[in-house]
């Protein structure tokens, strides 16, 4: 087993363990913290896939923004977060079954695919992926329109979130 594999396995176990805790733990703040651990594991995965840019924006966006926003929302709805009773709904066994079935189906489908065992290719020499990504995102031959649409979407979401959550003074 190479060092790379060892790192992968450790990170995968931590991430998946964290994810399981996210969906099972009762205390929502704890769930959010487990989510952060899990997302951090995913960030490391990006690092393993030689996408350092994604590692960093994963931390910035998911941990720095999304997770903290969630913790805020949990605290703002605190009464609900501490409600007694089950933390899962009545159909949880069906949900679990479906997830399991989906997992088996996905793995089975992957395993029948010829590219399943693709080994890690060498990255092209002398290419700065961040530079390439940046150029692709803003060049007309690349993804400038999707990128702009995504930014408009973000702006719209921003305004929409403010409008929706605005407490109207009656």
């Amino acid at each position: 087993m190479t060092v790379f594999q060892a790192i992968f396995l450790v990170v995968a176990v931590v991430t998946l363990g964290g994810a399981v805790m996210v969906v099972t733990v009762r205390n929502l703040i704890h769930a959010a913290l487990w989510l952060i651990l899990s997302l951090f594991g995913v960030a490391v995965m990006y690092g393993l896939l030689s996408a350092p840019f994604f590692t960093v924006i994963q931390v910035v966006i998911y941990i720095g923004a999304i997770a903290i926003l969630m913790i805020f929302a949990i605290m703002l709805t605190r009464r609900v977060a501490q409600e007694p009773g089950s933390s899962v709904n009545k159909g949880w066994w069906m949900a679990g079954l479906m997830s399991l079935v989906l997992f088996t189906a996905l793995v089975w489908m992957f395993s029948t695919w010829s590219g399943f065992q693709t080994t890690l290719p060498q990255l092209p020499e002398g290419i700065d992926t961040i530079k390439v990504l940046g150029t692709a995102l803003v060049s007309p031959d690349g993804y400038v329109i999707p990128f702009e649409i995504a930014s408009v979407l973000l702006l719209a979401a921003l305004i929409g979130a403010v409008v929706v959550a605005w407490e109207r003074k009656t």
């Binding site: 159909g91 479906m98 079935v101 189906a105 690349g142 329109i145 999707p146």
Partner: protein, 724 residues
């Protein structure tokens, strides 16, 4: 600037106006309508620059103005969007630009700009009127301004944007985007007075009915994309693609892909252009403000449906050998002709001024569809254009009439329906501009010979039907034309001619210039728009103006349509039906009095009393056969000839038309169409009731169910279908 660059900009002003109005100027009514009308004017100017450039270019058919843009990378290729201006686009742009601008301008007056705020007007309701005090201290009720004035302009701007997108796009996907934007706006505008339950119901009905067509159309688009990998016109209308489409079989009854796609797209048109059996939404859509009716039912949305089938004519006609119509075309000819007649008969028995026009629109659209069905797509495009002008004119005119009568209603305080034609009459003198323009529009709709645009376009359709030997289509359409002329004249007679039948009609007065100017402008086009389409070999007047429409629009397709040689038979038919219908309508309705029912409604007893009092023949015969022969005249001429023969013939014809209309309504529309509709509705309701325990409102449960179904399908696919 390159022409193709300018084309990109055509839809921009209305969209910009929409956003500016909703975001910035919705507090200020003046700014909002300046935005809206200004945007329409900019697009209008842009369109005319394009049209002039297009006319100068000479070979627009082979070399359309086009420009494409990469939208989204799809693997190794790009999904491209772009603009495309070919002769068909130019023709459509021509009437769209004019009617849209005129309707925008008209809306300013229609919504009583400049009038005071109502006493207790609320958003979502029609204005109720305001009380004003003049210098003597007298209190008057006057019309009040629309409370949601700015919102209206925002919505119709978006609507215009949708139409421009649809017209200039170079692929069926952006066309569909424009199509759906219009669907949304139509919903919003029909339900503009959303506080009225009937308006809400009409909006929902329109939205859901057209949705049926749209979904199937989307399926057609998806199938087309699946087969060809593109939706751009230059790809899907190319020789190879069409050949591939006609030769690829489908699982549906062994017909070719071209037929399936053509039919699916045509079903989209059925929904949008309100063809039978999806026509039910259009008459109800009259709940919206009148400019909306003009916008939807004349200029834009319903035209879009016909525009689509003309646009995809290569697919519809793919596989046509020796002028033999394809299956798609036969279906289209049937549905179009049937709708044409069917709607015309219903129109005869309507009293609401706008409802008559709505059925008339359905009927005229049926005309165009039938024309495409027999292969006469140039004639269809021609009629589409002339119809847009005169129907927009008629709608705007009817709005002006209603406006005038409403004014009278407010003034007198009567409790009458200002849209019922039997409450009008004699408006000729009160509203002269409206009358003359409405008359021009009405004559154009009836196909008044030689002058009006409607005559030339209708004549061309009939001539095409004759030339293609489509006798059934020819006869049905001719009969529909007769009825069209009849009910048009009935409408004009009831509304404008004779004497005022109510106090309110007496107090009606002419509308403001913002409303009359569009009427005059459109009236001009309702006449001259037909002239460039006069056949070259028409006796006497043919050839003064070259048959420009045929040459120009005919260039759209690679294969130019053959010119039809002139024949007297269709000419005589169209002359006969139009003049005959007009005369008949005038004769039957010229003397309807206040409070009296429709002369056609009770053809028995009461009608004698009506006729006893006054009839044109009375005075004539009295004058011819003076006192000594009074006994003969009474016994013979009056009682026998006049009342039995002449009246009998007239009544027979009208009774036939009326009962035919009633027949269609009672035995086809009500039991079959409505019954089918009700059956569908009832069974959906039953199924819904039976299965509503599934719908708990809990999203997560829905998702679980969706997953179960997805897995079920997947397993079925994997284990039963993909086995070698």
């Amino acid at each position: 600037m390159e022409a193709s660059t300018l084309v990109w900009l055509l839809p921009a002003p209305p969209l910009l106006a929409f956003f500016l109005i909703i975001l910035l100027t919705n507090r200020s009514k003046a700014l909002s309508h300046i935005m809206g009308v200004g945007a329409a004017l900019l697009s209008f100017i842009g369109s005319f620059v394009i049209i002039v450039l297009a006319l100068q270019s000479g070979h627009l058919g082979e070399e359309p103005f086009t420009s494409v843009l990469n939208w989204f990378p799809t693997g190794d290729t790009w999904f491209q969007i772009g603009v495309w201006v070919d002769p068909l686009t130019v023709a459509t742009l021509f009437f769209v630009a004019i009617t849209v601008l005129m309707i925008f301008l008209y809306s300013v007056g229609y919504h009583n700009y400049g009038a005071p705020k109502g006493d207790h007007d609320a958003p979502g309701l029609q204005p109720h009127g305001a009380t004003v005090e003049d210098e003597h201290g007298h209190k008057h009720r006057v019309p009040s301004i629309e409370p949601m004035y700015s919102r209206f302009f925002a919505f119709i701007s978006l609507f215009a944007f949708g139409m421009y997108v649809l017209v200039v796009s170079n692929n069926l996907l952006t066309l569909f985007v424009g199509w759906e934007i219009m669907g949304l706006c139509s919903y919003l505008l029909i339900g503009f007075w959303y506080a009225k339950p009937s308006a809400r119901a009409a909006a929902i009905k329109a939205f859901l009915t057209t949705r049926v067509g749209d979904v199937i159309m989307l399926l057609g688009l998806a199938y087309l994309y699946y087969l060809t990998g593109s939706l751009s016109y230059n790809v899907i209308f190319s020789e190879e693609t069409l050949h591939m489409l006609t030769s690829s079989p489908t699982p549906f009854f062994g017909v070719s892909a071209a037929v399936v796609i053509g039919l699916f797209l045509f079903i989209g048109t059925i929904g949008k252009s309100a063809q039978w059996p999806l026509h039910v939404w259009l008459p109800d859509a009259m709940e919206g403000p009148t400019p909306v009716s003009a916008m939807i039912h004349a200029a834009t949305m319903v035209s879009a449906g016909v525009y689509l089938v003309i646009r995809v004519f290569p697919i519809i006609s793919a596989g046509m050998v020796h002028g033999e119509p394809t299956l798609t075309m036969n279906i289209m000819a049937f549905i179009g002709a049937f709708t044409g007649l069917f709607a015309a008969t219903i129109a005869v028995a309507q009293n609401d001024i706008k409802r008559v026009l709505a059925y008339s629109t359905i009927s005229q659209l049926g005309y165009m569809i039938a024309a495409i069905g027999i292969g006469a797509y140039v004639a269809a495009a021609f009629h589409l254009m002339t119809h847009a002008f005169f129907k927009a004119l008629l709608f705007l005119g009817s709005g002006s009439v209603i406006h005038g009568v409403e004014h009278g209603v407010l003034h007198t305080g009567e409790d009458i329906d200002p849209q019922n034609m039997f409450n009008m009459g004699g408006l000729r003198k009160k509203m002269p501009i409206t009358f003359w323009t409405f008359l021009i529009g009405g004559l154009a709709l009836s196909g008044f010979p030689f002058i009006t645009a409607g005559f030339w376009s209708k004549d061309e359709i009939l001539a095409d039907a004759f030339a293609h030997s489509s006798w059934a289509v020819l006869i049905v359409l001719a009969f529909a034309a007769l009825l069209t002329a009849f009910y048009t004249m009935r409408q004009i007679t009831l509304t404008f001619l004779g004497e005022s039948r109510t106090e309110s009609a007496e107090h009606a007065h002419e509308s403001k210039w913002t409303m009359t100017f569009p009427l005059i402008f459109l009236a001009v086009f309702a006449i001259v728009a037909g002239w460039p389409g006069i056949p070259i070999d028409f006796p006497v007047i043919g050839g003064f103006i070259p048959n420009f429409i045929h040459d120009f629009v005919g260039e759209t397709l690679a294969e130019h349509p053959e010119t039809i040689t002139f024949n007297f038979v269709p000419l005589l038919i169209s002359l006969g039906v139009s003049l005959g219908g007009l005369a008949l309508g005038w004769l039957v309705y010229k003397d309807v009095k206040a409070g009296e029912p429709d002369p056609l409604e009770k053809p028995l007893g009461p009608i004698y009393r009506i006729l006893k009092n006054k009839y044109y023949f009375d005075e004539l015969y009295d004058f011819l056969f003076v006192r000594p022969s009074i006994w003969i005249s009474r016994q013979f001429t009056y009682l026998w000839l006049d009342q039995k023969i002449i009246d009998g013939i007239l009544h027979a014809i009208s009774r036939v038309a009326f009962s035919l209309g009633g027949l269609f309504r009672n035995y086809i529309d009500k039991p079959v169409v409505n019954g089918f509709g009700d059956f569908v509705g009832e069974s959906v309701k039953w199924i819904g009731r039976a299965s509503r325990f599934i719908q708990t409102g809990r999203v997560q449960q829905y998702m679980v169910m969706a997953l179960i179904i997805a897995f079920g399908t997947l397993f079925y696919y994997l284990f039963f279908l993909s086995q070698p």
